[in-house]
């Protein structure tokens, strides 16, 4: 294994010392955000390749929340771009959901409630997006 960058190593050791449990929460969230964004970028690139191989028919209307799942299963090219966009804008939603679990596991009641509130507001935005 490659030796860790000395600065990062210091940060990590120090953060564990000073803030205890929140330091490993940092690392979990960092990992989650990085890989989910990468995944959505890959889906978008794949979607463009599919569009290119199927005669450059560029979609201009979204599939919509209601039909997204069925169209993805049918591998419709428009749906792949939509899927990448939905995965991308769901990354923060997932991050908040994971934070809720992490705060709850530390019995940090005040912050678990606050995180739950943010999750509720995000879900309201999602529901408004579906119904409007």
């Amino acid at each position: 294994m490659a030796p860790e960058h000395p600065f990062r190593e210091r940060v990590r050791r120090f953060a564990h010392l000073a803030r205890g449990e929140l330091a490993d929460m940092d690392l979990v969230l960092s990992w989650l955000l990085r890989w989910m964004v990468r995944a959505s970028i890959l889906i978008l690139l794949f979607g463009l390749v599919v569009v290119a191989f199927t005669g450059f028919q560029f979609p201009h209307r979204t599939v919509g929340f209601n039909r997204l799942i069925t169209e993805v299963v049918e591998l419709r090219r428009a749906a792949i771009l939509d899927l990448g966009i939905i995965v991308l804008i769901s990354v923060p939603l997932t991050r908040v959901a994971v934070s809720l679990v992490l705060f709850a596991r530390r019995r940090d009641k005040a912050y678990a409630v606050m995180t739950g509130l943010v999750l509720a507001i995000l879900s309201a935005g999602l529901l408004l997006g579906i119904t409007l």
Partner: protein, 292 residues
């Protein structure tokens, strides 16, 4: 003037890449340059569609930056969660209001945001080590607040450890809800409002303010992105090209950042931002018409 579609897509990618690159070099985020580029001739993208594409790109770039900062323990997670209640509420209401507004109102509101961004860049200074140390004075000997927002970080510049307290949480909460609303309304991240508010009003060290703001922007932008998607304002093709362009440009910009003098660069961009603000006013007044 209408562009051929392949020409349009090529220009779209190049423009989005440049907007992401410039935004990350200047610390403005991609949206500030992206929306004028998309809505002004020759691109002439409808304003709501431009905001929809921009808000999705903002999720990508801010989340990517946030994953870096949070891994370096610069982000104050409690402060972020606390202020996110305000920014997400603001963003949802902003996105709902945007649907009611016409192209003119949105273009002129965006011009105001650009003028503000120009002032922000002209006045912003680098934080000195002295100021970092001053911010930590009085960190001990006070009763811990109920919000437990106080934090500690290792500065990447001087390697020293700084403990800080967070002042005036109520004021920060109010400013953050406004920042969220601007974000939902105009499709920008809103960091140019939150970072100075956290740094000057709440006395949060600059690097922590930038990291925490970036962390919040993803959630704020996602709250309104769902509404823009549901409303049909997210054009899959335009948004995909814009996301890939801005993301690529911002990634390159963050690597170039270490090698340029940011102060000179920021001052050089002040007149550019003001000129774009004037163009957006002209667009709003219909003097520059779309599709002409």
């Amino acid at each position: 003037m209408t562009l051929d579609f392949p020409v349009f897509l090529t220009l779209l990618f190049v423009g989005a890449f440049s907007a992401g690159f410039a935004g990350s070099l200047l610390g403005l985020g991609g949206g500030v340059f992206l929306i004028p580029f998309l809505t002004l001739p020759p691109m002439n993208v409808e304003v709501h569609t431009a905001i929809g594409a921009s808000i999705v790109a903002v999720v990508a770039t801010s989340t990517s930056a946030a994953s870096h900062y949070v891994g370096e323990h610069l982000t104050n997670l409690r402060l972020a969660m606390f202020l996110e209640v305000a920014t997400t509420l603001g963003a949802v209401s902003g996105a709902l209001v945007a649907a009611l507004l016409g192209v003119q109102e949105l273009a002129i509101a965006f011009a105001a945001a650009l003028a503000y961004a120009a002032a922000y860049m002209g006045l912003r200074r680098e934080e000195t080590a002295r100021e970092r140390a001053d911010a930590t004075v009085g960190a001990s000997g006070e009763a811990p607040s109920r919000l437990r927002l106080a934090g500690v970080y290792v500065d990447p510049e001087d390697g020293a450890t700084y403990r800080y307290r967070v002042r005036r949480p109520a004021l920060g909460f109010g400013v953050s809800s406004f920042a969220g609303m601007v974000s939902g309304l105009l499709g920008i991240g809103g960091g140019i409002i939150k970072v100075p508010a956290m740094n000057t009003a709440m006395k949060v060290p600059m690097k922590v303010a930038v990291a925490t703001s970036n962390f919040m922007i993803g959630v704020t932008a996602a709250a309104s992105a769902f509404i823009y998607y549901g409303r049909g304002y997210v054009d899959p093709t335009i948004s995909t090209i814009v996301v890939l362009g801005v993301f690529g440009g911002a990634t390159l910009g963050s690597q170039a950042l270490a090698r340029v003098s940011s102060r000179t660069l920021r001052l050089a961009f002040v007149p550019v931002l003001l000129a774009v603000a004037v163009l957006m006013v002209l667009r709003g007044l219909g003097i520059i018409a779309a599709g002409a």
